[in-house]
Symmetry: D2
Subunit: 405 residues, 4 copies
């Protein structure tokens, strides 16, 4: 590594020699280019990267998914199941691919899935499905901002026409204006079919915004205002808008809870109450044991945009005792951002993982959302039970990695 | 898939035949077992999984990281750099491995890194470093809860001795009691050396809790209360406690901003103001363009526990114009959960990616934290500039994937 | 005071003698009853309450506003102004009654009002106006909950008819269903004319819920779920629904800022940036200097339900420098809960304070909302400037009370 | 009201004639001045303010509490009780003064108090007691900010000496630094004895900051950063720091719940679960039925700074069924800002209300905090029961005001 001995402002920063990563011909996506680039990195960083070179995805297929490719990383993947699911879109028994390096995770989800399956299976429903982007427009004063909001409402048909002219699959469902001072945030809510659709709606909205600037007395805009909370955790996500709002639930007889989860409905409800207070105290968004674990494992396996787990993990788990003494467990994910086309979904292992779930082809995104929700339900049951029964530590000792020491 | 024709409660759920994923001998980690299990899954799900079978990690090495392994998934990895960094622990020029399938992401981070490097490099500082777990104890009334809190404070030396008896590397830094009604949440804050250390501190704390139950008039506890916000987004994370609190910053001359980022310091500050309001309106935790993107890409590449991006992404980006008209940009991550030993860090490609960064061996976790923070700084600069300049859409059209339609 | 020497469970709790506050004939609202009750309290608590007895409100008029009355408390009230306002509903120069015991508060608001008036006045706009209540219904499983949501949407006309049958002034604007697990929260959004209208919409909604239980396969409900955030601070309030969403703004020339506020637009913007980060770090809802101060003082004076300041104070202040170097300042209050009829608005001093503002009679609630917003704008300017200029401490020393020591 | 016919920028704003409220000799606090000022306002606003003129507080006593006084507003006050309390500082039976115009409020709190008293009384504990102010310092880069944080820690004894030199009662408990980018927020946490103490700690901290600027390489600061969340709702308040952290709880036998609250422990727990989910969905801070109601009524009566209800209302109510089938109810208020000296506490009716509670003299603030917490507990029980039993609407019809129509 090079030495540092000058203050940043003492030299002309534009003169400093900078070793760029080689781009090569046509951005360098064939195996030769990828290998050559990896060798360049090996030399620069004085290390060997043989495993990174052992990938099976066609290099050219990576175009549009990555730049400066040097190969692929491998993440171990396990199969968790069986998961019996009676959704509206996903019906049957599933084995869910989970890519992780956290020991005990797959075993824990499997335990929850078996309990759910033994109990007769989970149900799932997609309540709404849309993707939102929220550009912001500026004005000279609040009066002009207010006028603009009224104008946009009037022009909604024209704005929709412009937006939809850029896409075959996207539909602009509605437009909402929120003024804060002399700025107006305009939320564009789309249906994006089986894609998570971010590129689609950015393009459509940019076109719409250009029309608005020409026709609605707006001077300029930023394409993102932050209001739609993409890849961010926010309270706003409870109102949906970043993908599927999906619920999964299951009724587990007390005997099943005892036999497979080693606890009781009462104890789970007691634990729920106590940990809800912990979440409230922490000012957590939502309440759940660990949606993030299951989301990360399934998203990595299935070629989803993994950064979306940040918004997707905002949701609620509920454990309730029924009058008969059984357990009703549910998860609610208001903003689950998933897709079964586009993004990384067609690449090698990702495509295979989606096929494992039967989630390819038209109309498969909602089924995938239901499977994800039911998977999280199983995980919440298993982890919640481990906490409620006091078995959490043992479970991790049995399946976890030898710890670093 | 099996048919569903009975109400869950109508049959004895324990009688239902369930096809478990084969565990095999010693849980089945050698290549033969993994291959055989994958074939079983292929049959069950009626699909082919050849890419998943093309892994190079030694099967036995996966033990402790995954259960029911069927192979590995591949995620394309690109090299972003050069990133000139003058941290306290990481000093030099780095090329950062980023595993993603989101087109334009690596190119965008690279652009920010080049701008930072041209400007003389970024700085970074680790302000604190600890990992917390927060069990909850119940009592009959608030009086007993109050007494317990006082008692725990008195017994801190004994509790520390118990906790530390389970670990060679972990150190219990302090204990904090928070009573809510008749429950007391006891937060145990540890130093965990180069590991993210979750298993380490769960074990230590379970031991300490057993001692507390025997000696402090407590009847029972749950090992997690939710207060520590592991793998969850919460306001509490701003007070640190889930890993490194780290800051990175850089001064970019206006000329550099213009040449490499195609905008001006004033415009970036203007954009910051507008999008902060969007974040506030959404009730977002923190403010940043998209920490989640960079975190996900580096975490997947470097064998981190990817679910931790949910808490790690809670932080703040700031763009400020200096009196001289230049830009000072910074990122602050109060709870960056990373490690360079333990978890998935020693597996094949993960180990190689950490080696690319020189982040192996004792004392490397803080350097890794500084590199991650500086990487996010570069990403915020590039993405922020794309929004400020209006180039965001073009950039994604150039590098993004052919959209689904 | 009585001694305490028995454990609560050792005696029959229903046997304990309890001295109830005397209710007297017809609940005791005439002056004789009020005086007699006050004397009873004086004896019980061994103190004298002469000031509390020096009220001028007619006792019988208190019926419906208070129970067990013993008199009235007095809060000093000052006049702040002139405030030049060019709203849509409130146009002219106003002197605002502020009831407080916080020294320097009235002087500070007055300073901001003078600055705004010197600059040509403030503008204000009511963007929306509705009041929401959100009962929750329970079901046996998520499937039934989902069905119910669809059913409620279909039955909206019938539900509206039932709700509106209970009120002459209220209008049910729309119904929204949010399912979480097997519960469905149904939000009823009303227009309530000049009243804040809580009693009105509780009655209307209870009627609607009874109809729903009879007709939509629902078993039971709770009239409040907490979702509407009445008298609570929440992120949801940014989406409106608890009263008026109102904005006020003013352009202040740099010379005015200098002459009356002793600072500069640049300095105010700098302060804004720094304190926004403090708010983000604290995980505050919204951003403002101290809406609560102005809201409390005006609400107490004008007979508003003071507990509503908790939700009304969730909002955003923005300071922006214009290209010409002047200041544009604004406040946005998404959920300002105010009324000019009903509640305490007709009682003695409250009625007088509303008359000072010209806010009595039909259609006055929106004007009142604009005046409140402009008042807060003035306060934010004054307090923000005191912080920006470093004069805050001096100002409080000059006007504040002799401190307790 | 004057007409508006010119654009704000078209005239010299400094030339506009502005009618200031008359200040009079020595700021005008004697009755003649107050009467004369009120008449001036009556003329300006064309209305009569006789009730406002019927105050009994000595005018000169208002100095330091209000500017531009025109009299006082009257708020009806009722007595709620008996409340049997077994706190650490408040022991006995209390009758609580509540000033409100919300019909049914006093009756509802009274009902809860009677139930608590019948059950043997409430308990209460003050867990911590401090007041915090958080100035922010700026630096050229993150390196300097980091150095500064370390320096402040080293200089803590000197900084404490400076701060405490300004006050006889205040004690600086500790200093905490939080860097965000190149800014450092320094939180000063004080013990303020019986005062809420805001003026005290502002002065002490300003002195300390001047010392820091001279001795710690800091260039400038703002005295408020927003981090301490005074008069604002934030997640940070759960960590205390704005007054007393206080808990109150009571065990209510099922028979008492039935007899006085018309519901059952099970039903209350069921309601708690459902409404917690509503709060989570709304992204509320904390969970409670309506702390704000009780806080507002007691604060107005007892001369507290009413704007502080915004931060004080952030807390948690819990209802739990015991193994014996009884109810344990509790409230936790992490940041209850109250005082029994200073502010408005010595004015006429306020002083009398504090005397009703026995909360005057040294050491009374903690007793007052316990009484407030127990009062809120009673209110939560009563309101929660009204919702759980479905009696809420009837109760408000019986005691509420004739609605506006």
């Amino acid at each position: 590594m090079e030495s540092l001995n000058s203050h940043p402002r003492r030299q002309n920063p534009l003169d400093r020699p900078v070793d760029l990563v080689p781009r090569m011909i046509r951005q360098g996506y064939d195996r030769t280019c990828i290998d050559s680039r990896r060798q360049w990195v090996e030399e620069k960083t004085a290390c060997q990267l043989p495993h990174i070179g052992r990938y099976s995805i066609d290099g050219e297929q990576m175009r549009g998914n990555i730049e400066n490719p040097i190969g692929a990383v491998q993440v171990p993947v396990g199969a968790a199941g069986p998961l019996l699911l009676k959704g509206e879109h996903a019906i049957g028994t599933f084995y869910v691919p989970m890519a992780t390096t956290e020991g005990a995770l797959v075993r824990s989800y499997e335990r929850g899935m078996v309990a759910v399956t033994r109990a007769g299976g989970a149900s799932a429903r997609v309540q709404s499905d849309e993707n939102t982007i929220s550009p912001v427009f500026s004005f000279t004063d609040i009066d002009a901002a207010h006028e603009f909001s009224l104008r946009v409402r009037d022009e909604e048909p024209n704005i929709r026409r412009e937006a939809e002219s850029t896409t075959r699959h996207g539909r602009l469902l509605r437009i909402e204006c929120n003024a804060t001072g002399r700025q107006v945030i305009v939320s564009f809510c789309y249906s994006t079919a089986d894609a998570s659709g971010m590129n689609m709606i950015v393009n459509a909205t940019e076109r719409a915004c250009e029309w608005i600037e020409r026709n609605c007395a707006a001077r300029s805009h930023y394409i993102f205002s932050g209001l739609s909370s993409e890849k961010r955790a926010s309270g706003r996500l409870f109102w949906g808008g970043k993908g599927k709002k999906v619920t999964a639930g299951a009724l587990l007889p007390a005997t099943t809870v005892k036999a497979y989860l080693h606890t009781t409905p009462e104890r789970l409800v007691h634990m729920w109450h106590h940990t809800v207070i912990g979440h409230i105290h922490a000012n957590s968004l939502g309440y759940n044991g660990q949606f993030a674990n299951g989301l990360a494992a399934v998203f990595i396996a299935c070629g989803q945009d993994v950064a979306n787990i940040v918004n997707s993990a905002v949701g609620v788990t509920s454990f309730e005792a029924t009058e008969e003494g059984d357990l009703y467990a549910s998860v609610t994910l208001p903003s689950l951002t998933v897709g079964t086309v586009g993004g990384g979904t067609s690449l090698g292992t990702a495509r295979e993982c989606l096929e494992m779930l039967g989630c390819t082809g038209a109309g498969s995104a909602e089924a995938f959302a239901e499977i994800v929700a039911a998977t999280l339900l199983a995980g919440e049951l298993s982890m919640g039970s481990a906490i409620a029964s006091g078995e959490f530590v043992q479970a991790h000792e049995k399946y976890g990695r030898n710890r670093p020491e």
